[in-house]
């Protein structure tokens, strides 16, 4: 681990203390996990503490962990993962926060901390279905007007439920159930942990 990452880990532990649920360093990247209750306050600290100085939120995405590793999931299903960047300190951080309730995943919005998160939260709401209370404009963004469901959830089929076509009789565009069958050309296989390791060749 480089000196820079060590410094970052140390600063994180000092500034966040107990609010840090876990801190992991892997492949030269630092990942922290926080509780949904602390999420907003932690994000505020990450931006404002001069030892951390994450001025920019680069990315936020929702993740559905329900089929991770092809085994039944224990623990919460949805998480929001953000990537932060500090221009002043030149380091990056990944923050993961699981939404406590699987039936109604909800996490506080961080739009007040970084305005750039606005569309990312709309996207996470649209595609995964995480709700962000505090967001003042939580509309769908990428899917069609009037779309039903959250397409990036793992139980949503790749081919979707409805398709659109022009109906010459009604002389308008209509929605109908999909006519294509989903197919899987290469099956999804999880091998033992050492299988794909480069140094195992």
């Amino acid at each position: 681990m480089s000196a820079k990452l060590e410094a970052l880990c140390q600063n994180l532990q000092e500034c966040l203390g107990d609010r840090l649920k876990s801190l992991k360093v892997a492949l030269g990247e630092v990942t922290i996990e926080v509780d949904a209750a602390d999420y907003l306050a932690v994000m505020q600290t990450l931006r404002d503490a001069p030892e951390l100085a994450f001025e920019e939120l680069i990315d936020l995405c929702g993740v559905d962990y329900s089929t991770y590793g092809n085994v039944p999931r224990e623990g919460p299903r949805y998480a929001a993962v953000s990537h932060l960047l500090s221009i002043a300190r030149n380091w990056r951080l990944r923050v993961r926060c699981f939404a406590p309730d699987d039936d109604f995943p909800s996490l506080p919005s961080v739009t007040s901390v970084w305005n750039s998160v606005n569309w990312f939260e709309r996207e996470a709401f649209d595609l995964i279905g995480i709700v962000f209370p505090g967001h003042n404009d939580l509309r769908r963004i990428l899917t069609d007007y009037g779309f039903i469901g959250h397409p990036f959830r793992k139980d949503f089929p790749v081919s979707g439920y409805v398709e659109m076509r022009y109906d010459p009789e009604q002389q308008r565009v209509i929605y109908q159930p999909v006519t294509i069958e989903p197919r899987e050309i290469t099956p999804r296989i999880v091998r033992e942990a050492t299988y794909g390791k480069a140094n195992n060749a």
């Binding site: 892997a26 492949l27 030269g28 990247e29 990942t31 001025e55 920019e56 939120l57 680069i58 990315d59 995405c61 993740v63 559905d64 991770y68 590793g69 092809n70 993962v81 990537h83 221009i87 030149n90 990056r92 990944r94 970084w114 305005n115 750039s116 998160v117 606005n118 569309w119 769908r140 963004i141 990428l142 899917t143 069609d144 397409p151 990036f152 790749v158 899987e184 290469t186 999804r188 296989i189 999880v190 091998r191 942990a193 299988y195 794909g196 390791k197 480069a198 140094n199 195992n200 060749a201």
Partner: protein
């Protein structure tokens, strides 16, 4: 007295200055924009969802189709993310080739940008000049990959093939005699590197030509100067990266600050703007093309002198060569496994970012150890920049909206994904 109220204007999605399929609902007070609400997603193809049902390598061509103006840079971020998870080393020659083509891509992107931005704002000539040079560069794309746009040239572990020894040439036809095509073929008589060397020598002069047309042009300046000013503080708040951030005066470039591949071995400068208006962003992009050209030149010189492998020899990641595959049992097995099941990427997550022509293009992948990604997230720079549209156009005239869309350099392939 009649009741006066703001009216709403629907801009796009078929407007020629909307750069693709942007639909924007503008609330106007007279000719002044009070609010802009971009509606995106008309080109949404769910690339991230599709990638979850494809093997790792099958998604490489999808990356080309994200930002279809800077194809290889998208592939680069994706391949780097996989390489980081696999912890494979990319041969040094492949790294130089990647840097070379990243910079060619940057020039390609900025040329298209300056041409189309010119069209939007009223400088009709620019696009003709820009496409003349783009032609040479897409020919370089074609020479290495066989495709002029969607190259699929970068692969996890290196690049698909080494640089070719000869360039394609113009053929005599009914319309062009042998004497007419001779000057066109002069630079193409040698290898790809000779061709690019010739291009790098010509290009600064051509850039001067563009600048003569635009930089001090009165109309150009009237349309661009002080339009869409973004202060450095706001730029950080809004997550700007790339030329948008540098235009606001923050010297941030991943190639310098978090160097990947061999960017720490080449020499170049980062231009920054002063006021953060559209004109500064224009100047930054023009200067970036000059700097890219410098990098191209350095890479060409290095590649000439240093032959070597361009693909990792780890056959868990990269397929073995044809000859070995046909004569050895082990290579045959590797080939079979790679081509049927695909590579397995160890469990973990990685975020890799490249300095894409438009800003920071990042790929966040989560792997659960399968032969397909568990989750792929594409961080598109244009998405973030467009989300600041409302803030940037507020209080400007309707005609400035077009300038601001242009100066953000948005491409809907990456925004809608």
């Amino acid at each position: 007295m009649p009741e006066l109220r703001n009216f709403t204007l629907n801009f796009g999605p078929q407007h020629p200055a909307a750069h693709g399929v942007l639909r924007m609902v503008l609330e106007l007070d007279g000719e002044v924009v009070m609010r802009a609400d971009p509606h995106i997603g008309l080109l949404h193809r769910a690339t991230e969802k599709l990638a979850e049902s494809k093997t790792w390598i099958q998604s490489v061509p999808y990356m080309d189709r994200l930002d279809y103006m800077s194809m290889m840079c998208n592939e680069h971020a994706y391949c780097m993310a996989i390489e980081r998870l696999l912890e494979v080393e990319v041969p040094i020659r492949a790294q130089y080739i990647r840097v070379l083509f990243d910079e060619i891509t940057r020039i390609l992107n900025h040329l298209l940008w300056v041409g189309c931005h010119g069209l939007d704002v009223g400088a009709m000539t620019m696009v003709l000049y820009a496409f003349r040079e783009r032609e040479d560069l897409v020919d370089a794309y074609e020479a290495v990959s066989g495709a002029r746009m969607h190259a699929a040239y970068y692969r996890p572990g290196g690049v698909y093939r080494d640089l070719p020894d000869r360039m394609s040439q113009y053929q005599e036809s009914k319309w062009k005699s042998a004497a007419q095509i001779k000057p066109f073929n002069e630079a193409r008589s040698g290898s790809l590197l000779d061709f690019l060397d010739d291009f790098a020598a010509r290009f600064p002069k051509l850039l001067d030509e563009y600048e003569t047309l635009l930089t001090d042009n009165r109309i150009w300046k009237q349309r661009l100067v002080d339009v869409g000013i973004v202060t450095p503080e706001r730029a950080l708040q809004r997550g700007f990266t790339g030329p948008m951030l540098r235009g606001s005066g923050i010297a941030w470039d991943l190639r310098k600050k978090q160097p990947y591949e061999v960017y720490d071995r080449v020499d170049f400068d980062i231009p920054i703007g002063k006021t953060g208006d559209s004109y500064d962003r224009y100047l930054v992009r023009m200067e970036e093309m000059r700097q890219s050209n410098r990098i191209v030149k350095q890479c060409v010189d290095w590649l000439r002198q240093n032959p070597g492998p361009v693909m990792s020899d780890n056959h868990k990641v990269a397929p073995p060569d044809r000859e070995a595959m046909k004569s050895n049992m082990e290579e045959l097995i590797h080939h079979f496994k790679l081509c049927t099941e695909g590579m397995h990427v160890p469990e973990g997550e990685a975020y890799s970012a490249v300095e894409h022509p438009k800003g920071e293009f990042g790929i966040y992948v989560i792997s659960d150890g399968a032969n397909k990604p568990y989750r792929l997230k594409i961080r598109a720079p244009g998405y973030v920049h467009l989300s600041a549209m409302d803030e940037m156009v507020r209080g400007h005239m309707l005609a400035d909206v077009v300038t601001i869309i242009g100066s953000q350099d948005v491409v809907f392939g990456e925004i809608d994904r």
